[in-house]
Symmetry: C2
Subunit: 279 residues, 2 copies
Protein backbone atom coordinates (compact mmCIF):
# COMPACT_ATOMS: atom_id res chain seq x y z
CA UNK A 1 0.00 0.00 0.00
CA UNK A 2 1.24 3.41 -1.05
CA UNK A 3 1.98 5.50 2.03
CA UNK A 4 2.66 8.76 0.18
CA UNK A 5 -0.05 11.40 0.47
CA UNK A 6 -0.23 15.04 -0.60
CA UNK A 7 -2.17 17.45 1.57
CA UNK A 8 -3.25 20.63 -0.20
CA UNK A 9 -3.93 23.41 2.31
CA UNK A 10 -1.92 23.27 5.51
CA UNK A 11 -4.24 25.03 7.94
CA UNK A 12 -5.76 23.76 11.16
CA UNK A 13 -7.29 20.56 9.74
CA UNK A 14 -4.58 20.01 7.13
CA UNK A 15 -1.99 20.27 9.89
CA UNK A 16 -3.89 17.95 12.21
CA UNK A 17 -4.25 15.38 9.40
CA UNK A 18 -0.52 15.72 8.59
CA UNK A 19 0.45 15.13 12.19
CA UNK A 20 -1.80 12.12 12.74
CA UNK A 21 -0.97 10.50 9.41
CA UNK A 22 2.78 11.00 9.90
CA UNK A 23 2.49 9.40 13.31
CA UNK A 24 0.81 6.42 11.57
CA UNK A 25 3.77 6.00 9.20
CA UNK A 26 2.52 7.87 6.13
CA UNK A 27 4.87 10.17 4.20
CA UNK A 28 3.04 13.45 4.12
CA UNK A 29 3.82 16.14 1.55
CA UNK A 30 2.15 19.52 1.70
CA UNK A 31 1.21 22.31 -0.65
CA UNK A 32 0.36 25.69 0.85
CA UNK A 33 0.89 29.31 -0.19
CA UNK A 34 2.31 30.14 3.23
CA UNK A 35 6.03 29.40 3.54
CA UNK A 36 5.75 30.08 7.24
CA UNK A 37 3.18 27.29 7.64
CA UNK A 38 5.35 24.89 5.65
CA UNK A 39 8.51 25.56 7.60
CA UNK A 40 6.64 25.28 10.90
CA UNK A 41 5.27 21.89 9.78
CA UNK A 42 8.72 20.70 8.66
CA UNK A 43 10.14 21.77 11.99
CA UNK A 44 7.41 19.88 13.83
CA UNK A 45 8.19 16.87 11.60
CA UNK A 46 4.54 16.49 10.59
CA UNK A 47 5.43 16.68 6.86
CA UNK A 48 8.44 15.39 4.93
CA UNK A 49 8.38 18.12 2.28
CA UNK A 50 6.44 21.28 1.56
CA UNK A 51 5.87 23.31 -1.58
CA UNK A 52 4.41 26.77 -1.94
CA UNK A 53 3.97 26.69 -5.68
CA UNK A 54 1.93 24.31 -7.79
CA UNK A 55 4.19 22.30 -10.05
CA UNK A 56 2.90 19.64 -12.45
CA UNK A 57 5.78 17.23 -11.91
CA UNK A 58 5.31 17.41 -8.16
CA UNK A 59 1.53 16.83 -8.35
CA UNK A 60 2.14 13.83 -10.64
CA UNK A 61 4.08 12.12 -7.87
CA UNK A 62 0.83 11.42 -5.99
CA UNK A 63 -2.14 9.17 -6.53
CA UNK A 64 -3.75 10.10 -3.21
CA UNK A 65 -4.48 13.73 -2.33
CA UNK A 66 -6.35 15.32 0.57
CA UNK A 67 -7.70 18.83 0.07
CA UNK A 68 -8.03 20.81 3.29
CA UNK A 69 -9.14 24.10 1.74
CA UNK A 70 -12.26 26.25 2.05
CA UNK A 71 -14.89 25.19 -0.49
CA UNK A 72 -14.31 28.14 -2.85
CA UNK A 73 -10.53 27.66 -2.82
CA UNK A 74 -10.92 23.93 -3.39
CA UNK A 75 -13.13 24.52 -6.44
CA UNK A 76 -10.71 27.17 -7.77
CA UNK A 77 -7.74 24.87 -7.26
CA UNK A 78 -9.39 21.97 -9.06
CA UNK A 79 -10.45 24.30 -11.87
CA UNK A 80 -6.91 25.64 -12.33
CA UNK A 81 -4.85 22.47 -11.90
CA UNK A 82 -6.97 19.38 -12.53
CA UNK A 83 -5.01 18.68 -15.69
CA UNK A 84 -1.91 18.15 -13.51
CA UNK A 85 -3.38 15.08 -11.79
CA UNK A 86 -1.80 11.73 -12.56
CA UNK A 87 -4.29 9.30 -14.13
CA UNK A 88 -6.09 7.25 -11.51
CA UNK A 89 -5.61 9.79 -8.72
CA UNK A 90 -8.14 9.60 -5.90
CA UNK A 91 -8.70 12.78 -3.94
CA UNK A 92 -10.79 13.67 -0.95
CA UNK A 93 -11.62 16.87 0.94
CA UNK A 94 -12.73 17.99 4.41
CA UNK A 95 -15.27 20.70 3.53
CA UNK A 96 -18.26 21.50 5.65
CA UNK A 97 -20.73 21.75 2.75
CA UNK A 98 -21.02 19.18 0.01
CA UNK A 99 -23.72 19.73 -2.63
CA UNK A 100 -22.17 22.85 -4.22
CA UNK A 101 -18.63 21.45 -3.91
CA UNK A 102 -19.50 18.09 -5.45
CA UNK A 103 -21.51 19.62 -8.29
CA UNK A 104 -18.69 21.99 -9.27
CA UNK A 105 -15.84 19.51 -8.87
CA UNK A 106 -17.67 16.74 -10.76
CA UNK A 107 -18.34 19.13 -13.63
CA UNK A 108 -14.67 20.17 -13.84
CA UNK A 109 -13.22 16.65 -13.72
CA UNK A 110 -15.88 14.94 -15.82
CA UNK A 111 -13.47 14.05 -18.63
CA UNK A 112 -10.47 13.26 -16.40
CA UNK A 113 -9.52 9.80 -15.24
CA UNK A 114 -9.50 10.77 -11.57
CA UNK A 115 -11.95 10.28 -8.73
CA UNK A 116 -13.31 12.59 -6.03
CA UNK A 117 -14.55 11.03 -2.79
CA UNK A 118 -15.92 13.76 -0.51
CA UNK A 119 -15.54 13.34 3.24
CA UNK A 120 -16.26 15.43 6.32
CA UNK A 121 -14.36 14.80 9.55
CA UNK A 122 -16.61 16.04 12.38
CA UNK A 123 -13.77 17.46 14.36
CA UNK A 124 -12.45 20.95 14.67
CA UNK A 125 -11.46 23.67 17.02
CA UNK A 126 -12.28 27.34 17.37
CA UNK A 127 -8.62 28.03 16.55
CA UNK A 128 -7.07 28.62 13.13
CA UNK A 129 -3.91 27.71 11.24
CA UNK A 130 -1.38 24.90 11.26
CA UNK A 131 0.21 26.36 14.40
CA UNK A 132 -2.81 25.16 16.36
CA UNK A 133 -2.91 21.64 14.90
CA UNK A 134 -2.54 20.11 18.37
CA UNK A 135 -5.92 21.58 19.40
CA UNK A 136 -7.71 19.09 17.13
CA UNK A 137 -8.28 15.50 18.18
CA UNK A 138 -9.88 12.91 15.92
CA UNK A 139 -10.18 10.29 18.59
CA UNK A 140 -13.75 8.89 18.63
CA UNK A 141 -14.95 11.73 16.42
CA UNK A 142 -17.60 11.14 13.79
CA UNK A 143 -16.60 10.82 10.14
CA UNK A 144 -18.92 11.26 7.16
CA UNK A 145 -18.32 9.96 3.66
CA UNK A 146 -20.55 11.63 1.09
CA UNK A 147 -21.73 9.40 -1.69
CA UNK A 148 -20.40 10.47 -5.10
CA UNK A 149 -20.88 7.14 -6.95
CA UNK A 150 -17.45 6.11 -5.79
CA UNK A 151 -15.37 3.04 -6.55
CA UNK A 152 -14.78 0.53 -3.81
CA UNK A 153 -11.05 1.36 -3.97
CA UNK A 154 -11.78 5.00 -3.08
CA UNK A 155 -14.22 4.03 -0.33
CA UNK A 156 -11.75 1.55 1.10
CA UNK A 157 -9.02 4.21 1.13
CA UNK A 158 -10.96 6.81 3.10
CA UNK A 159 -12.49 4.23 5.45
CA UNK A 160 -9.02 2.87 6.34
CA UNK A 161 -7.62 6.36 6.81
CA UNK A 162 -10.51 7.35 9.09
CA UNK A 163 -10.25 4.14 11.12
CA UNK A 164 -6.49 4.41 11.49
CA UNK A 165 -6.84 8.04 12.58
CA UNK A 166 -9.18 7.05 15.40
CA UNK A 167 -12.55 8.20 14.07
CA UNK A 168 -15.53 6.04 14.80
CA UNK A 169 -19.12 6.12 13.50
CA UNK A 170 -17.95 6.21 9.92
CA UNK A 171 -21.17 6.82 7.95
CA UNK A 172 -22.18 7.37 4.34
CA UNK A 173 -24.70 10.10 3.47
CA UNK A 174 -26.01 11.55 0.23
CA UNK A 175 -24.91 15.15 -0.52
CA UNK A 176 -28.40 16.48 0.36
CA UNK A 177 -28.63 14.50 3.58
CA UNK A 178 -25.18 15.74 4.57
CA UNK A 179 -25.98 19.39 3.96
CA UNK A 180 -29.33 19.19 5.75
CA UNK A 181 -27.89 17.47 8.84
CA UNK A 182 -24.83 19.73 8.95
CA UNK A 183 -27.00 22.86 8.77
CA UNK A 184 -28.57 21.69 12.03
CA UNK A 185 -25.71 20.06 13.97
CA UNK A 186 -22.89 22.39 12.97
CA UNK A 187 -23.90 25.60 11.20
CA UNK A 188 -26.90 26.50 13.38
CA UNK A 189 -24.82 26.14 16.60
CA UNK A 190 -22.21 28.50 15.13
CA UNK A 191 -24.91 31.03 14.18
CA UNK A 192 -26.40 30.84 17.68
CA UNK A 193 -23.11 31.09 19.52
CA UNK A 194 -22.01 34.22 17.65
CA UNK A 195 -25.49 35.71 17.96
CA UNK A 196 -25.51 35.12 21.71
CA UNK A 197 -22.26 36.98 22.28
CA UNK A 198 -23.28 39.74 19.84
CA UNK A 199 -26.60 40.36 21.56
CA UNK A 200 -25.09 42.42 24.38
CA UNK A 201 -22.22 44.86 24.65
CA UNK A 202 -20.83 42.44 27.30
CA UNK A 203 -19.53 45.35 29.30
CA UNK A 204 -18.05 44.05 32.53
CA UNK A 205 -19.70 40.62 32.41
CA UNK A 206 -16.45 38.64 32.75
CA UNK A 207 -16.62 38.30 36.55
CA UNK A 208 -20.14 36.90 36.36
CA UNK A 209 -20.00 34.19 33.73
CA UNK A 210 -20.20 30.50 34.54
CA UNK A 211 -19.73 27.32 32.53
CA UNK A 212 -23.03 27.63 30.66
CA UNK A 213 -22.06 30.94 29.04
CA UNK A 214 -18.52 29.68 28.40
CA UNK A 215 -19.76 26.52 26.68
CA UNK A 216 -22.35 28.30 24.58
CA UNK A 217 -19.87 30.92 23.37
CA UNK A 218 -16.78 28.74 22.84
CA UNK A 219 -17.31 28.68 19.06
CA UNK A 220 -18.16 32.39 18.86
CA UNK A 221 -14.40 32.83 18.39
CA UNK A 222 -14.83 31.92 14.76
CA UNK A 223 -13.01 31.88 11.42
CA UNK A 224 -15.25 34.51 9.83
CA UNK A 225 -14.19 33.98 6.21
CA UNK A 226 -14.63 30.22 6.26
CA UNK A 227 -17.94 30.19 8.11
CA UNK A 228 -19.43 33.02 6.05
CA UNK A 229 -18.66 30.92 3.01
CA UNK A 230 -20.16 27.76 4.53
CA UNK A 231 -23.31 29.60 5.67
CA UNK A 232 -23.87 31.15 2.23
CA UNK A 233 -23.11 27.97 0.30
CA UNK A 234 -25.64 26.08 2.41
CA UNK A 235 -28.06 28.97 2.65
CA UNK A 236 -31.32 27.16 1.84
CA UNK A 237 -30.86 24.45 4.46
CA UNK A 238 -29.48 26.82 7.08
CA UNK A 239 -32.33 29.34 6.72
CA UNK A 240 -34.80 26.47 7.24
CA UNK A 241 -33.04 25.50 10.47
CA UNK A 242 -32.91 29.09 11.71
CA UNK A 243 -36.66 29.41 11.04
CA UNK A 244 -37.37 26.18 12.97
CA UNK A 245 -35.25 27.46 15.83
CA UNK A 246 -37.12 30.78 15.88
CA UNK A 247 -40.52 29.05 16.02
CA UNK A 248 -39.29 26.95 18.95
CA UNK A 249 -37.84 30.01 20.70
CA UNK A 250 -41.20 31.76 20.34
CA UNK A 251 -42.90 28.86 22.17
CA UNK A 252 -40.47 29.15 25.05
CA UNK A 253 -40.77 32.94 25.17
CA UNK A 254 -44.57 32.79 25.14
CA UNK A 255 -44.63 30.31 28.02
CA UNK A 256 -42.33 32.60 30.06
CA UNK A 257 -44.38 35.68 29.15
CA UNK A 258 -47.62 33.94 30.22
CA UNK A 259 -45.92 32.40 33.26
CA UNK A 260 -47.26 29.07 32.04
CA UNK A 261 -45.21 26.75 34.16
CA UNK A 262 -46.75 23.57 32.72
CA UNK A 263 -45.85 24.41 29.15
CA UNK A 264 -42.38 25.58 30.21
CA UNK A 265 -41.63 22.44 32.21
CA UNK A 266 -42.92 20.39 29.28
CA UNK A 267 -40.50 22.11 26.88
CA UNK A 268 -37.58 21.64 29.28
CA UNK A 269 -38.47 18.00 29.99
CA UNK A 270 -38.57 17.48 26.26
CA UNK A 271 -35.09 18.95 25.84
CA UNK A 272 -33.77 16.78 28.68
CA UNK A 273 -35.05 13.57 27.14
CA UNK A 274 -33.84 14.54 23.67
CA UNK A 275 -30.37 15.28 25.05
CA UNK A 276 -30.25 11.99 26.93
CA UNK A 277 -31.28 10.05 23.81
CA UNK A 278 -28.24 11.42 22.01
CA UNK A 279 -25.75 9.95 24.43
Amino acid sequence: MNKKILIVGLGLIGGAYASKLSELGYQIYALDISKESLSYALNEKIIVEGRSEVDKEFIQEFDKIIFALYPSLLINWIYSYHSYFRKGTIFTDVSGVKKPVITSVNEIIKDDEVEFIPTHPMSGSEKEGVFNYKSVSFNKSNFIIVDNSNSSEAKQWVISLAEEMGFNNIKILSPSEHDEIIAYVSQLPHVLSSTLINSSDNKDISPYIGNSFKDLTRISDINSKMWSELFILNKDELIKKIEQFKRELDKMEEAIEKEDRNVLEGLLNNSTSKKRELK
Copy 2:
Protein backbone atom coordinates in the same frame (compact mmCIF):
# COMPACT_ATOMS: atom_id res chain seq x y z
CA MET B 1 -14.48 31.28 64.72
CA ASN B 2 -17.54 29.04 64.78
CA LYS B 3 -17.04 26.16 62.37
CA LYS B 4 -20.59 24.77 62.65
CA ILE B 5 -22.85 25.39 59.66
CA LEU B 6 -26.33 24.16 58.78
CA ILE B 7 -27.12 23.54 55.12
CA VAL B 8 -30.83 23.50 54.32
CA GLY B 9 -31.47 21.59 51.09
CA LEU B 10 -29.03 18.83 50.29
CA GLY B 11 -29.24 18.71 46.51
CA LEU B 12 -26.49 19.17 43.95
CA ILE B 13 -25.19 22.51 45.23
CA GLY B 14 -25.98 21.81 48.91
CA GLY B 15 -24.02 18.57 48.58
CA ALA B 16 -21.10 20.22 46.81
CA TYR B 17 -20.96 22.93 49.52
CA ALA B 18 -21.13 20.26 52.23
CA SER B 19 -18.27 18.34 50.70
CA LYS B 20 -16.00 21.33 50.16
CA LEU B 21 -16.72 22.88 53.56
CA SER B 22 -16.19 19.55 55.39
CA GLU B 23 -12.87 19.18 53.60
CA LEU B 24 -11.97 22.66 54.92
CA GLY B 25 -12.66 21.60 58.51
CA TYR B 26 -16.20 22.86 58.99
CA GLN B 27 -18.78 20.73 60.79
CA ILE B 28 -21.64 20.52 58.35
CA TYR B 29 -25.17 19.63 59.43
CA ALA B 30 -27.93 19.15 56.88
CA LEU B 31 -31.68 19.45 56.71
CA ASP B 32 -33.45 17.78 53.80
CA ILE B 33 -36.77 15.99 53.32
CA SER B 34 -35.02 13.08 51.62
CA LYS B 35 -33.65 10.49 54.05
CA GLU B 36 -31.90 8.85 51.14
CA SER B 37 -29.94 12.04 50.41
CA LEU B 38 -29.01 12.41 54.07
CA SER B 39 -27.79 8.85 54.50
CA TYR B 40 -25.83 9.08 51.27
CA ALA B 41 -24.15 12.26 52.53
CA LEU B 42 -23.38 10.68 55.92
CA ASN B 43 -21.87 7.71 54.17
CA GLU B 44 -19.73 9.98 52.03
CA LYS B 45 -18.69 11.81 55.24
CA ILE B 46 -19.65 15.20 53.76
CA ILE B 47 -21.98 15.95 56.71
CA VAL B 48 -21.72 15.09 60.41
CA GLU B 49 -25.48 14.87 60.98
CA GLY B 50 -28.66 15.07 58.95
CA ARG B 51 -32.27 15.78 59.85
CA SER B 52 -35.35 15.30 57.72
CA GLU B 53 -37.72 17.22 59.99
CA VAL B 54 -37.55 20.83 61.07
CA ASP B 55 -37.07 21.04 64.81
CA LYS B 56 -36.76 24.34 66.68
CA GLU B 57 -34.12 23.15 69.12
CA PHE B 58 -31.98 21.87 66.28
CA ILE B 59 -32.27 25.10 64.27
CA GLN B 60 -31.32 27.07 67.39
CA GLU B 61 -27.96 25.30 67.48
CA PHE B 62 -26.77 27.37 64.48
CA ASP B 63 -25.89 30.98 63.90
CA LYS B 64 -24.76 30.38 60.32
CA ILE B 65 -27.10 28.76 57.80
CA ILE B 66 -26.78 28.20 54.06
CA PHE B 67 -30.00 27.67 52.08
CA ALA B 68 -29.53 25.62 48.93
CA LEU B 69 -33.20 25.46 47.92
CA TYR B 70 -35.17 26.63 44.88
CA PRO B 71 -36.36 30.23 45.34
CA SER B 72 -40.01 29.28 46.07
CA LEU B 73 -39.01 26.63 48.59
CA LEU B 74 -36.58 29.02 50.26
CA ILE B 75 -39.29 31.65 50.65
CA ASN B 76 -41.77 29.04 51.96
CA TRP B 77 -39.22 27.70 54.43
CA ILE B 78 -38.40 31.16 55.79
CA TYR B 79 -42.10 31.96 56.01
CA SER B 80 -42.84 28.77 58.01
CA TYR B 81 -39.83 28.60 60.30
CA HIS B 82 -38.19 32.02 60.63
CA SER B 83 -39.35 32.18 64.27
CA TYR B 84 -37.07 29.18 64.98
CA PHE B 85 -33.88 31.13 64.16
CA ARG B 86 -31.55 31.93 67.04
CA LYS B 87 -31.10 35.69 67.53
CA GLY B 88 -28.18 36.99 65.52
CA THR B 89 -28.29 34.22 62.94
CA ILE B 90 -26.78 35.09 59.58
CA PHE B 91 -28.05 33.10 56.62
CA THR B 92 -27.21 33.04 52.96
CA ASP B 93 -28.58 31.29 49.86
CA VAL B 94 -27.45 30.16 46.42
CA SER B 95 -30.47 31.10 44.30
CA GLY B 96 -30.23 32.11 40.69
CA VAL B 97 -32.64 35.08 40.97
CA LYS B 98 -32.43 37.70 43.66
CA LYS B 99 -34.93 40.56 43.48
CA PRO B 100 -38.08 38.48 44.22
CA VAL B 101 -36.26 36.35 46.81
CA ILE B 102 -34.79 39.32 48.66
CA THR B 103 -38.07 41.25 48.63
CA SER B 104 -40.04 38.32 50.09
CA VAL B 105 -37.43 37.22 52.63
CA ASN B 106 -36.81 40.78 53.88
CA GLU B 107 -40.55 41.28 54.37
CA ILE B 108 -40.88 38.03 56.37
CA ILE B 109 -37.89 38.63 58.66
CA LYS B 110 -38.31 42.39 59.08
CA ASP B 111 -39.02 42.15 62.82
CA ASP B 112 -36.53 39.34 63.55
CA GLU B 113 -33.00 39.87 64.79
CA VAL B 114 -31.45 37.87 61.98
CA GLU B 115 -29.69 38.81 58.77
CA PHE B 116 -29.98 37.58 55.18
CA ILE B 117 -26.95 37.98 52.92
CA PRO B 118 -27.83 36.73 49.43
CA THR B 119 -25.10 35.09 47.35
CA HIS B 120 -24.86 33.33 44.00
CA PRO B 121 -22.05 30.86 43.32
CA MET B 122 -21.59 30.80 39.52
CA SER B 123 -20.95 27.12 39.41
CA GLY B 124 -23.22 24.24 38.59
CA SER B 125 -23.64 21.16 36.53
CA GLU B 126 -26.37 19.81 34.28
CA LYS B 127 -26.82 17.00 36.83
CA GLU B 128 -29.17 16.94 39.82
CA GLY B 129 -29.15 15.76 43.43
CA VAL B 130 -26.57 15.24 46.14
CA PHE B 131 -25.48 11.99 44.46
CA ASN B 132 -23.81 14.08 41.76
CA TYR B 133 -22.06 16.51 44.11
CA LYS B 134 -18.66 15.58 42.68
CA SER B 135 -19.68 16.99 39.29
CA VAL B 136 -19.50 20.53 40.71
CA SER B 137 -16.20 22.33 41.12
CA PHE B 138 -15.91 25.77 42.69
CA ASN B 139 -12.29 26.19 41.82
CA LYS B 140 -11.75 29.60 40.15
CA SER B 141 -15.51 30.01 39.66
CA ASN B 142 -17.12 33.41 40.00
CA PHE B 143 -19.02 34.32 43.17
CA ILE B 144 -21.59 37.10 43.49
CA ILE B 145 -22.69 38.73 46.74
CA VAL B 146 -25.94 40.65 46.35
CA ASP B 147 -26.17 43.81 48.36
CA ASN B 148 -28.93 43.65 51.01
CA SER B 149 -27.64 46.44 53.29
CA ASN B 150 -25.55 43.87 55.11
CA SER B 151 -23.36 44.14 58.19
CA SER B 152 -19.63 43.81 57.77
CA GLU B 153 -19.77 40.62 59.87
CA ALA B 154 -22.10 38.99 57.33
CA LYS B 155 -20.04 40.20 54.38
CA GLN B 156 -16.86 38.97 56.00
CA TRP B 157 -18.42 35.55 56.60
CA VAL B 158 -19.48 34.92 52.99
CA ILE B 159 -16.28 36.39 51.56
CA SER B 160 -14.13 34.08 53.71
CA LEU B 161 -16.28 31.06 52.83
CA ALA B 162 -16.06 31.84 49.11
CA GLU B 163 -12.30 32.41 49.26
CA GLU B 164 -11.67 29.25 51.26
CA MET B 165 -13.82 27.26 48.83
CA GLY B 166 -11.65 28.38 45.91
CA PHE B 167 -13.90 30.92 44.19
CA ASN B 168 -12.28 33.97 42.72
CA ASN B 169 -13.71 37.19 41.31
CA ILE B 170 -15.86 37.75 44.36
CA LYS B 171 -18.06 40.72 43.42
CA ILE B 172 -20.91 42.68 44.93
CA LEU B 173 -23.94 43.61 42.81
CA SER B 174 -27.29 45.21 43.54
CA PRO B 175 -30.32 42.89 43.22
CA SER B 176 -31.35 44.51 39.91
CA GLU B 177 -27.84 44.37 38.47
CA HIS B 178 -27.62 40.70 39.46
CA ASP B 179 -30.92 39.75 37.84
CA GLU B 180 -30.17 41.67 34.66
CA ILE B 181 -26.69 40.16 34.21
CA ILE B 182 -27.86 36.65 35.12
CA ALA B 183 -30.70 36.82 32.60
CA TYR B 184 -28.02 37.25 29.94
CA VAL B 185 -25.11 35.10 31.12
CA SER B 186 -27.05 32.19 32.59
CA GLN B 187 -30.77 32.09 31.80
CA LEU B 188 -30.57 33.03 28.10
CA PRO B 189 -27.94 30.30 27.43
CA HIS B 190 -30.25 27.73 29.07
CA VAL B 191 -33.21 28.92 26.96
CA LEU B 192 -31.11 28.71 23.78
CA SER B 193 -29.61 25.32 24.54
CA SER B 194 -33.00 23.71 25.17
CA THR B 195 -34.51 25.47 22.17
CA LEU B 196 -31.70 24.24 19.91
CA ILE B 197 -32.25 20.60 20.81
CA ASN B 198 -36.05 21.00 20.65
CA SER B 199 -35.96 22.52 17.18
CA SER B 200 -35.53 19.18 15.42
CA ASP B 201 -36.75 15.64 16.04
CA ASN B 202 -33.03 14.71 16.15
CA LYS B 203 -33.78 11.45 14.45
CA ASP B 204 -30.52 9.63 13.77
CA ILE B 205 -28.26 12.65 14.25
CA SER B 206 -26.01 11.02 16.87
CA PRO B 207 -23.39 9.76 14.38
CA TYR B 208 -23.01 13.22 12.88
CA ILE B 209 -22.57 15.54 15.83
CA GLY B 210 -19.29 17.21 16.69
CA ASN B 211 -18.05 19.26 19.60
CA SER B 212 -19.98 22.38 18.66
CA PHE B 213 -23.37 20.66 18.97
CA LYS B 214 -22.25 18.87 22.13
CA ASP B 215 -21.10 22.09 23.79
CA LEU B 216 -24.20 24.04 22.82
CA THR B 217 -26.57 21.35 24.09
CA ARG B 218 -24.75 20.29 27.28
CA ILE B 219 -27.14 22.28 29.47
CA SER B 220 -30.23 21.17 27.54
CA ASP B 221 -30.28 18.27 30.02
CA ILE B 222 -31.92 20.56 32.54
CA ASN B 223 -33.70 20.55 35.90
CA SER B 224 -37.04 21.62 34.45
CA LYS B 225 -38.74 22.57 37.72
CA MET B 226 -35.94 24.77 38.97
CA TRP B 227 -35.26 26.54 35.68
CA SER B 228 -38.96 27.11 34.93
CA GLU B 229 -39.14 28.83 38.29
CA LEU B 230 -36.02 30.92 37.65
CA PHE B 231 -37.20 31.94 34.16
CA ILE B 232 -40.63 33.00 35.44
CA LEU B 233 -39.29 34.81 38.51
CA ASN B 234 -36.92 36.80 36.32
CA LYS B 235 -39.37 37.11 33.45
CA ASP B 236 -39.01 40.83 32.68
CA GLU B 237 -35.22 40.76 32.36
CA LEU B 238 -35.18 37.44 30.53
CA ILE B 239 -37.76 38.50 27.93
CA LYS B 240 -35.65 41.61 27.24
CA LYS B 241 -32.61 39.42 26.61
CA ILE B 242 -34.55 37.02 24.37
CA GLU B 243 -35.79 39.98 22.33
CA GLN B 244 -32.25 41.35 21.97
CA PHE B 245 -31.10 37.91 20.87
CA LYS B 246 -33.90 37.67 18.28
CA ARG B 247 -33.01 41.06 16.79
CA GLU B 248 -29.39 39.97 16.49
CA LEU B 249 -30.39 36.61 14.95
CA ASP B 250 -32.49 38.45 12.36
CA LYS B 251 -29.40 40.44 11.31
CA MET B 252 -27.44 37.24 10.79
CA GLU B 253 -30.29 35.54 8.95
CA GLU B 254 -30.81 38.52 6.66
CA ALA B 255 -27.11 38.61 5.75
CA ILE B 256 -27.21 34.88 4.90
CA GLU B 257 -30.46 35.28 2.94
CA LYS B 258 -28.98 38.18 0.92
CA GLU B 259 -25.63 36.38 0.61
CA ASP B 260 -24.06 39.57 1.95
CA ARG B 261 -20.63 38.29 2.80
CA ASN B 262 -19.35 41.64 4.09
CA VAL B 263 -22.09 42.01 6.67
CA LEU B 264 -21.79 38.36 7.66
CA GLU B 265 -18.02 38.52 8.11
CA GLY B 266 -18.50 41.73 10.09
CA LEU B 267 -20.91 40.01 12.48
CA LEU B 268 -18.59 37.03 12.91
CA ASN B 269 -15.52 39.24 13.39
CA ASN B 270 -17.47 41.10 16.01
CA SER B 271 -18.30 37.90 17.86
CA THR B 272 -14.67 36.80 17.70
CA SER B 273 -13.39 40.01 19.24
CA LYS B 274 -16.11 40.03 21.89
CA LYS B 275 -15.26 36.45 22.85
CA ARG B 276 -11.54 37.24 23.05
CA GLU B 277 -12.19 40.27 25.25
CA LEU B 278 -13.89 38.00 27.78
CA LYS B 279 -10.85 35.84 28.35
